[in-house]
Symmetry: C2
Subunit: 384 residues, 2 copies
C-alpha cells in the first residue's frame, strides 16, 4: 500500500530514528503521541501542542463513536478540521476500550457487542464497522479491530484471541482496500499477551499481510512490568524492519526508552496529561508531586533542564498553590510541561540513536531520575 | 502622591480615553481587568492573557490572605513573580468578600472580624492590616478596606457604613503613607448604596483626601439593575476628573458601556471567565450557550467578528462537543475568547471616545447584540 513514506535514517542496535510522512504530514521518529480521547488532549489546545513540539496525536475511536458520533465528525469536515489540529492523527480501533470501559461485552466471530458506558446504547463493533467509522473520522492512520485479552487468562484463550485477531485483520484490510481511498494508512496489531510463541506467529502473519505499519498491542492489560518489558524487548526486534512499529499504550519514561532501544518508532500514553491532573510532573530528576505541602515555599523551577513556558515562568511554590486551590491552571501548566517533557525525551532518544549512544542515554536518564530533588525534601520524587 | 501617571487623551461627553502608568507598567483606558481570585485567572496562563491583550488584572486580597498567605507571597517575590505576570496588578481590599463569602462576620470600628470560609480560622481585617497584607502581596495598585452594605438595608445603616468607610480610608491612607515606599498606588472607595446624597458626600470627602485613584464600590450587592445604572451614571461624573476612576465588579458588556459613557476608566468582573466555565460565550451578537444541543452540528465560528485563536481555529460544533464531554478544553478555549471579547470591547469603546462617537457605539453594540444568531436556532442568544 505504501501510503506512509517511512525513512529510517539511523540505527543503533535494534533502535532506529527516522522520518515518517503520511498525507503530507511529517513526524520524526521515535514519536510520542499525546492522547486526545474525545477529540481533545485534556487541557491542551492545538497551539499548546504545537508549542510543545507535538507532530502526531492519538484519538479514540470508541469514545468518538459514542460522542459526537462519526457521521457528525464527517459532516464537520473530519477530525483534523473538528479538532483544529493540522499535524498527523492516528485513531485506535476501540478494541482496548471495549475491554476496559464498555459494559456487558460479548465477543464472537462477528465482532464485539457491548453497551456504551455512557447511556447503555447497544453497539456492535465489527472489523468492517471500525474501518467505516475511521473512514468517517478521517485520521491519517487507522487501526484494525483486535482482541486483547485481560490477564491472567488461560493459554488457550490467549491463542484463540490471537487467531481471531488475525482473521479480523484480514477482514479489516479487505474492507479498507475496498472503500477507503483517501490515502489513510492502516496498521495491524500484534496480540498474544506474554506468550512469546504466539507473539512470534502474530508478527509473521500480520507482518506479511501488507499493512502500512504494525503495532504491538495487548500491553498494560494486567501483566507484570517484567512481562511487559520481556514482550517489548523480545517481540519488537522480530517486526519487519521496513514497517513503522507502534508500541501501544505505554508508558512511563523508562518504558519508552526500553521500547525505543528495542526498535519501537511510535508511542502513545495518557500519562503526561493524566498525571498533570493529579499534580504529578515528570522531570529530568523524577516525578515531582505538586500537592506535597513542602513545595509551597519552593522557589525552584519545575525542571531546570526544561525549555517549556511553565518551567521558564513559574516556580514550584506557585504550581503547588494552584493545586491546593484546585485552580484549573495547575493541570493546564503541568500538562503543557509533561507533554513537552515527553517530546524532549523521544527527541533526545532519537538523537542518541544517531550518535550510536542509545544504551548510554537510557542509563544516564535512569540514573538522573533517581536523584533526590532538593526542593522536595519531604517526599523524594521517584520514577514510578 | 501621584504614583500613577494618568493622561486623559480624549473626551466625549463624560467619557474618557487615556493611558495610565504605574511602576513602569502601562495600560490603556478604559481598561478591563480579568479577575485572578487566588492568583490565577481561571483557566488562563499569563501567555494566554498577553495574547488576549490584557494589560492589567485583579487579584483578591481576601483569598490570597487565606491561601497561600501574604508572607508566603512576599517570600516568593511578590504577586508579579508568583503569578508570572509582567503586566499591572490591582488587588482589592477584601471588603466585598467579607460581605459575600466569610462566615460569622462582626464589624465594628476596629475592623471586620470573621471566620475563613475554608477552615474557620478567625481573622480580623482592619484598614491597617489590609495595607500591610497588600504591602506583602506587592501589587501596583492597592485598595482601602471599605464597608459595603448588602441591600436591602435601612438608610441609617447605609449612612453609618459610608461614614465608617471614610474613617477607615483615613486610617488606611495614613498607614500606607507611613510604611509603603514601593511606588504602590492606593485607591479610595466610594460607598453609599443607591443613596445619591450619601454617594455625593463620599465623592467629595474621599476625592479630596489625596488618593491615587477613586473607586465606585458597593455595586452588585443586591440593588436592581436600574439602581446600578442610576448610581453609575449619576455618581461617576462627580468624581474628580484628574483621578483614575475604577468601577468595581461590573459586569455585562452593556453595563460596561454605560459606565464608560459615564466616565469610568477601569473595570473588573468575573463574568468572562465564570461564563466560560458554564459554556456561555460573549459574542458581538449576544451570548451563545454552548451546551445547547442544536450547536453540535454548527460549522459557524463562535464569533465571526473576533480575532482570537478560538474563533480562528474552531467551529461551534467542536466547542459544543467539548462541553458535552466535560472536556477542560471547552472552558479554556471559551475563557480565551471571552477575555479577548472584553478587551476588544473596551478598546473599541476607547476608540469611539476618540472619534467622539461614544453614544453611537453603545447603541450600535446593543442593537447587534439583540440579533438572533442563525447558528443557534433552538435557543436565540441574548444579552443578559
Amino acid at each position: 500500500m505504501a501510503t506512509i513514506d517511512f525513512r529510517i535514517e539511523a540505527r543503533d542496535g535494534n533502535a532506529r530514528a527516522g522520518l515518517a510522512t503520511v498525507r503530507g504530514r511529517t513526524f520524526q521518529t521515535p514519536a510520542f503521541m499525546p492522547v486526545g480521547t474525545a477529540g481533545s488532549v485534556k487541557a491542551l489546545a492545538p497551539g499548546d501542542l504545537d508549542r510543545a513540539g507535538v507532530q502526531i496525536l492519538l484519538a479514540n475511536t470508541y469514545h468518538l463513536r459514542l460522542r459526537p458520533g462519526p457521521e457528525r465528525i464527517r459532516a464537520l469536515g473530519g477530525l483534523h478540521r473538528f479538532m483544529g489540529w493540522e499535524g498527523a492523527i492516528l485513531t485506535d480501533s476501540g478494541g482496548y476500550q471495549v475491554l476496559s470501559q464498555a459494559a456487558r461485552v460479548r465477543i464472537d466471530e462477528e465482532g464485539a457487542a457491548f453497551r456504551s458506558h455512557l447511556d447503555g446504547e447497544p453497539i456492535l463493533l465489527t472489523p468492517e464497522e471500525v474501518i467505516r467509522i475511521q473512514e468517517a473520522l478521517d485520521p491519517d492512520i487507522a487501526m484494525v479491530l483486535d482482541q486483547p485479552v485481560a490477564l491472567p487468562a488461560a493459554a488457550r484463550d490467549i491463542a484463540a484471541a490471537a487467531e481471531r485477531t488475525i482473521r479480523w485483520a484480514e477482514r479489516a484490510l479487505a474492507c479498507h482496500r475496498a472503500r477507503v481511498h483517501s490515502g489513510q494508512a492502516l496498521f495491524g496489531i500484534v496480540q498474544g499477551a506474554a506468550d512469546l510463541e504466539t507473539r512470534a506467529r502474530q508478527v509473521e502473519v500480520l507482518g506479511s499481510m501488507g499493512f502500512d505499519g504494525l503495532a504491538l498491542g495487548g500491553l498494560a492489560v494486567g501483566e507484570s512490568r517484567e512481562e511487559t518489558a520481556a514482550t517489548v524487548s523480545q517481540v519488537l526486534p522480530r517486526f519487519p524492519p521496513q514497517l513503522l512499529r507502534y508500541v501501544m499504550g505505554i508508558g512511563y519514561p523508562e518504558d519508552l526508552l526500553l521500547a525505543i532501544e528495542s526498535g519501537g518508532d511510535l508511542f502513545d500514553c495518557v500519562l503526561p496529561t493524566r498525571h498533570a491532573r493529579t499534580g504529578q510532573a515528570f522531570t529530568s530528576r523524577g516525578v515531582v508531586r505538586l500537592r506535597h505541602a513542602a513545595l509551597r515555599d519552593s522557589r525552584e523551577p519545575l525542571d531546570a533542564a526544561c525549555d517549556c513556558e511553565t518551567c521558564a515562568r513559574f516556580e514550584r511554590g506557585y504550581l503547588a498553590h494552584l493545586y491546593r486551590c484546585d485552580e484549573m491552571l495547575g493541570p493546564i501548566l503541568v500538562a503543557r510541561h509533561n507533554v513537552r517533557f515527553y517530546q524532549r525525551l523521544v527527541r533526545a532518544a532519537g538523537e542518541a540513536v544517531r550518535r550510536g549512544a542509545s544504551a548510554a542515554f537510557r542509563a544516564e536518564f535512569l540514573g538522573a531520575c533517581q536523584e533526590e530533588s532538593p526542593g522536595d525534601a519531604g517526599g523524594a520524587p521517584t520514577c514510578e
